[in-house]
Symmetry: C2
Subunit: 113 residues, 2 copies
């Protein structure tokens, strides 16, 4: 599949991160590897709850954009682990700042966590 082209850096980065669950997935992966089910669990606080279809889709897109790596263990039952790619760890500061900024400026609009 042909990858989308952009007209400027901000547009490109913003698009990479656009998707209901993407920033949350990246945030969940901030301190290491997680299995499919663990990510699902991490996001269980958010409503509406993420479906397996959506989680799969967004993970694939993040993978296609090189932000995360997918490792399949040939076992039964299957085990699949997701990790931030080394090259794209440089994106983490952005998500971290989203966390910090939100915590400081949006506290009144955050229900629980």
């Amino acid at each position: 599949m042909q990858k989308k082209k952009y007209h400027g850096p901000v547009e490109a980065t913003a698009d990479i991160l656009s998707g209901r669950w993407k920033p949350l997935i990246l945030w969940a992966l901030r301190d290491g590897t997680l299995r499919f089910g663990q990510i699902e669990e991490e996001l269980s606080a958010y409503k509406p709850n993420i479906t397996q279809r959506m989680l799969t889709k967004q993970l694939r897109e993040l993978e296609n954009d090189g932000l995360i790596a997918r490792k399949v263990y040939p076992e039964v039952p299957p085990r699949v682990e997701y990790t931030l790619t080394e090259r794209y760890r440089s994106l983490m500061p952005i998500v971290e700042q989203m966390y910090n900024w939100g915590k400081e400026h949006m506290a009144d609009r955050i229900e629980h966590e």
Copy 2:
């Protein structure tokens, strides 16, 4: 209108910035005040071109979330200026990092600028 509630800081900040044109508008406003038409012009490089309806909508949303201020000058023809709010200038680093990261990691997918 009741403002949306969130379950975590990352979700909140991401949602504030979500919208085809929002990061681009904030980026355009990085070094000062711009008139409605100037913003339109700044974004004219992007396709499909932003419509007046869309620009108005996204500006209003950014205003409602307190990211930008709107100043109307009672003249004919009308003049309206937009500026980043002082309080929310703290969000700029995020957009700046989007610019830097995109420039470094997405160069091959950026057509012109």
